[in-house]
């Protein structure tokens, strides 16, 4: 074998942007805030899953009225100190109804997380299907689907959700309905991201190489495109979960989302301002629960983005991000890129 056949260069140590689940975990673990947030989220999920167990432990349930525990003469203020806190009712009872606050809070976690996750799943599914179809379809398919996506993006989510909730018969299970409506009204951005990413991936040389191998479109989409789509979609989906929690809470706060007797944090806050002096925890607990949940999910989402998006790393190396890359990179690579953009310019002119 001649000398020319032996590769003598040394590979670069670790190339930024190289993916893989292991690298993702390593990058995520390196962020302390994200790890704390992940623990908080895990705890919340656990509480939501174990809601029946926890309430059984307390010996209460979220829907039973306790008229004996409220002072109807004073408009329904809970009897006892701090809104009726005690061994029976760990966090006191709800004003007016006397329902157990702890039970409603932990069941509220179920509703909040469940609705948000289900809505995100619908958004991701619709967005990816429409986005990928637009990117891979012919010009007319793309035009049609892109216009639809534009309209979906332009529709104000809260307003549309509000309006849609008006027309659906009240017999429909409310949490499912809220999740579906959020999902169907707000998949536009994910659709745009999926389309743009697929268009980018489609032009990559390795996809061309797969075509030259003789594989069909479906297999190429599954093997070469979808994995590349995962990073941006997961990144965005991670940030949609807290947004969806906020929206569900807002709709329920307005009295059109999740309706009693099913508990929801937003719904608990609907009349909380009236009671804040007599039963401050009735306002503070659901508000704090919402705040902590959305905050933890947002921080975790930021962490996921940093771990998945190679550019985030360069954002941290302020001012010289490209410098170090270009030092390691090949000068010729830049040449041909610039050449391409020039060709494109000439094309437009």
């Amino acid at each position: 074998m001649s000398e020319a056949l032996v590769a003598t260069e040394v590979p670069e140590a670790s190339v930024p942007g190289a993916s893989g689940a292991r690298q993702f975990w390593r990058r995520l673990r390196a962020q302390r805030a994200a790890m704390v947030a992940a623990v908080v989220v895990a705890l919340l999920v656990l509480v939501a899953l174990a809601a029946p167990l926890l309430t059984a432990l307390e010996g209460q349930d979220p829907t039973t009225y306790h008229p004996s525990l409220i002072d109807s003469a004073r408009g329904g203020v809970p009897i006892g100190s701090f809104g009726g806190v005690g061994g029976e009712h760990w966090l006191g009872v709800e004003p007016q109804t006397g329902r157990d606050l702890f039970a409603r809070l932990v069941y509220g976690a179920r509703v909040s997380l469940g609705v948000a996750l289900a809505a995100t799943a619908v958004q991701v599914f619709l967005g990816v299907v429409v986005g990928v179809a637009a990117a891979l379809g012919n010009r007319w398919v793309d035009q049609l689907l892109s216009r639809i996506t534009d309209i979906i993006v332009a529709m104000p989510l809260m307003i549309m959700a509000l309006a849609l909730l008006a027309v659906v018969p009240s017999s429909f299970p409310r949490p499912v309905l809220v999740a579906l409506i959020i999902g169907f009204v707000a998949w536009g951005t994910i659709g745009k991201i999926a389309r743009a990413q697929t268009l980018t991936l489609k032009e990559l040389d390795y996809v061309a190489a797969a075509r030259l191998s003789g594989w069909g479109t479906l297999r190429i989409a599954r093997r070469e495109l979808l994995p590349g789509l995962a990073a941006p979609v997961i990144t965005y989906a991670a940030l949609m979960v807290p947004a969806n929690i906020s929206i569900e809470a807002s709709l329920s706060f307005l009295g059109v989302g999740v309706k009693p007797p099913t508990p929801s944090w937003g719904q608990m806050l609907t009349s909380a301002d009236v009671w804040y002096q007599a039963a401050p925890q009735y306002l503070l607990l659901p508000a704090a629960a919402l705040f902590v949940t959305v905050l933890a999910l947002t921080v975790l989402g930021d962490g996921v983005r940093t771990a998945l998006d190679p550019r985030a790393a360069s954002r941290l190396r302020i001012g010289t991000g490209r410098r170090q890359e270009s030092k390691a990179g090949k000068p010729e690579a830049a040449k041909t890129e610039a050449g391409r953009s020039e060709a494109a310019e000439e094309g437009i002119a």
Binding site: L5, Y206, S213, E346
Partner: protein, 530 residues
Amino acid sequence: MSLVHVTDLTVEFGDLRAVDGLSFRLEEGAALALVGESGSGKSTVASALLGLHRGTGARVGGSVEVAGVDVPRASDDELRRLRGAKAAMVFQDPLSSLDPYYAIGDQIAEVYRVHTRASRRTARARAVEVLDRVGIPDAVRRSRSRPHEFSGGMRQRALIAMALACEPRLLIADEPTTALDVTVQAQILDLLHTLRAETGMGLLLVTHDVGVAAGSVDDVLVMRHGRAVEQGPVAAVLGAPGEAYTRELLAAVPRVDAPRAPSGPAGEVVLEARGLRREFGRGRKAFAAVDDVSLTVRRGETLGVVGESGSGKTTLGRMLVGLLEPTAGEVRHDGHARVGVNPAVQMVFQDPVSSLNPRRNVGESIADPIRARGERDEQRIRGRVKELLERVGLEGARYDRYPHEFSGGQRQRVGIARALAADPRVIVCDEPVSALDVTTQAQVVALLGELQRELGLALVFVAHDLAVVRQVSDRVAVMRRGRIVEQGPADEVYDSPRDPYTRQLLAAVPALDPRIAARRRAERGEVAVT
């Protein structure tokens, strides 16, 4: 006192020592080139001269003195007064090096005002003056344009104009022509040459291209792994290199004037293009990237397709393999018209990063054509892939490795193995070595040659680099604006070009011998006049 005096410079990024004990001097008005392959630390040295590593976490050791300023120990204000005023820098990519949102003239005026406290009006006038000086036509009007409204060469001129604004004593040019076409490169190098003669400023040229250095400087410093390998007058170092690495580097540089070793006789026609045309865009924006191109490729021969950016050579390559459908004309394999992709015609891609799926191991990528043929026996697939890996000079055991664990040249070898896995008769290579260092380039080119002889492959070698194309091709087609302007046996095209464009291209190629470089510069002056 020297203009630049660097003693025992080290620059470290974390664990990586990019520059390791480098020393050199540059006298007032002299020109020095730092030459090296990627990772040699040459650009890092350029940044260190202006103290650009300050505040980035890089550790800088040794002493750096530029125009009387002790760079590592200077205050921030002293450093700011040095930058741009006494020593100015020209960067590699002129598009990303200018603010896309402001007019070129305003950007130059801003820099001028930082150092002179001139009025807005004076600064603007100065900007027009320097733009005119670097040969931008209609400078008053063009100074109001934004960078994206300029062509690549014009942008680089604008960047040089910015450098000239404050009449610096030192110009640092970091790969100033790497992003440019060869004819534009020649113009920019000529401009630098003229400006240096007129203003008497010193020049520090950082480049990977020995040819660029040969024609532009007095002294050259060859770098490798952050250290100086060899240093001296350019004619001496390039003419009679004293160090083994310098010799290796020079030997790897393809020569535009050296004929190719004769290859075996060409066989029957395996690939033919007839009247190929490809349009992009619709309506008024439509243009033909490739226009009426006909060519043939025979078994065992290499057809070189050479052209500058925008010549349509890549579009042509993609049509030949069936990745793009022609608007008109046809591609014929073995005498039959074909539509779409065909395993017998494979491609080796330009960018070793994007041509392999980062999420799949290289073995799986190489196995794709074998699996697509219907082979199901895992043992046999694995065996064949390992055989192919070894055939291209990689260890068969690296089947399960991912692309990021390979260097650029190795990834290109993987790409070649994948093409071979389809048992092709033709391989179209689209700029297969343009992203590689020159020594790696030589290895990959040699590999392609060996494979061709062994397997009787027909190769289409698409590239912008005239010297590389000559090195590999039996026949050459020169493309310009979508058309083939000249086609024929390589030696004929290179030694007695008929088309004026081919002549212009050949005159623009940097020469390794400083005397030849000077002669070519003179010739270019004539070509430009006619």
